[in-house]
Symmetry: C2
Subunit: 287 residues, 2 copies
Amino acid sequence: MINTLCVIGVGLIGGSLAKVLRKKKWCRRVIGIDTNQQALETALELNVIDDGFADVEQCTEVPDVVVIAVPVLRVKDVFAQLQPWKSQCKAVTDVCSTKMNVIQAYEDVFASSGENCFVPGHPIAGRETSGVAEAVNDLFLQKKVILTPLKSTSKDSINLVSDMWEQTGANVEQLGPQEHDKILAATSHLPHALAYSLVHCLSTQSHTEEIFRYAAGGFADFTRIASSDPVVWREICLANREQLLAALEHFDTSLLQLRDSLQANDGDALEKIFTQAKNARDEYRNS
Amino acid sequence: MINTLCVIGVGLIGGSLAKVLRKKKWCRRVIGIDTNQQALETALELNVIDDGFADVEQCTEVPDVVVIAVPVLRVKDVFAQLQPWKSQCKAVTDVCSTKMNVIQAYEDVFASSGENCFVPGHPIAGRETSGVAEAVNDLFLQKKVILTPLKSTSKDSINLVSDMWEQTGANVEQLGPQEHDKILAATSHLPHALAYSLVHCLSTQSHTEEIFRYAAGGFADFTRIASSDPVVWREICLANREQLLAALEHFDTSLLQLRDSLQANDGDALEKIFTQAKNARDEYRNS
């Protein structure tokens, strides 16, 4: 148990984390920091935070643990604000979907090479809704949380952040940051790009209304992630640009293979692609 | 209520339809026809059919209503087998996901231009599992069934097939066959092609196992349809080849727009695409 948790960015992820950690009594107090006054008010009303501030400067109390839960490209500004707290916190972590650029931002701001308390993290959890009003206690339950610590990160900070996530019911693992970004480009960023592209493509057609009218369950599942927050995903895509471009290129090769087979009326080639995909998907489901 | 229903192709769709129509007592008897002896045995065991035959010729009783539920490219062979029954049935319908090619097959086999009992149909329902063992009573509940009757289809046959589907709890509508195929290419065939391509692409990468290991809920939803039956989807793609190729081309334009924006680090352009997609998806969800 710690004394004070500070969540910077009181949205779905930050709010859900604060909510469950209070419930588990892992922290005595929660401070929320958000430039959005309405988010702070909602968080106070819902009893997710004890105090709310528009920025770090206004908060006079130094927290034990800081969780940065803002859109990924804003993390660097937050690091700059954290300068005064840095040597006093037990751990600083983040929840961003990309890790290489967060680490780069950290190194840009905190140039020192000594041991530090920064534990880059990524809970692989979420939903297509957003905002603290949607915060729930079980958002991280049985989900994976990947930590990508620096060589200079203190072991105590890693243990504290691991403990924090374990309180939420998540399974904590460690990966290298580059490996993390490559894997997430394939399983998360690429699917989001495809879902957004598909719905964008259909919404620009002349018979959009009829198209959606006759869409069935498979379509609803397939396009659910296209309801995700556009600002969050703009930033994730930009932050993991190289890996996502590589994943898109790889995907394009597969799609072209399918299209060429269809163009050539080559049913056997189509069936081979579909069968390989089905086998991989079935194995994933059963694992 | 009719006397005898004949389901040709006793799989998930044909089996579920037989099951619920028996339950609703819409038919007195169900005959199953399937070249797969195991499917017939399972259907008999599960009490989905009363009698099973390997082909139409072996069945001496002429049914009132015939439902063709075989993969789409096999429909023409079935029509040929139905020649002896044709003038005695009250209605013949099918459940195929594409309609233009089924109508073409019908016209190839039954050249006569007079009034007839064929009602092309398509229940927009299904799941990624297959086989009669998976048959359920509520597969069509509150789902859309689209009928695309010919000009020569008798009104009585249309009414009978509509009544049959309404018994299952489905909402029956009519569309032109070409319009049907264009809409389904966009909302069903294209998403399946993309899901298959994505999983195929990931399954051919060097770190496939890790990729799937860290895949989250959004990925599971997005790729669920890649577990669909490869033979069924091979045939659907070939049957609706022109419309699917057009849909793929349209999608490619959208994906290229996204990729170009990402390549150019143009966050505003990305956000615009994502926002338009999110708005369309949210509207669909709320409709």
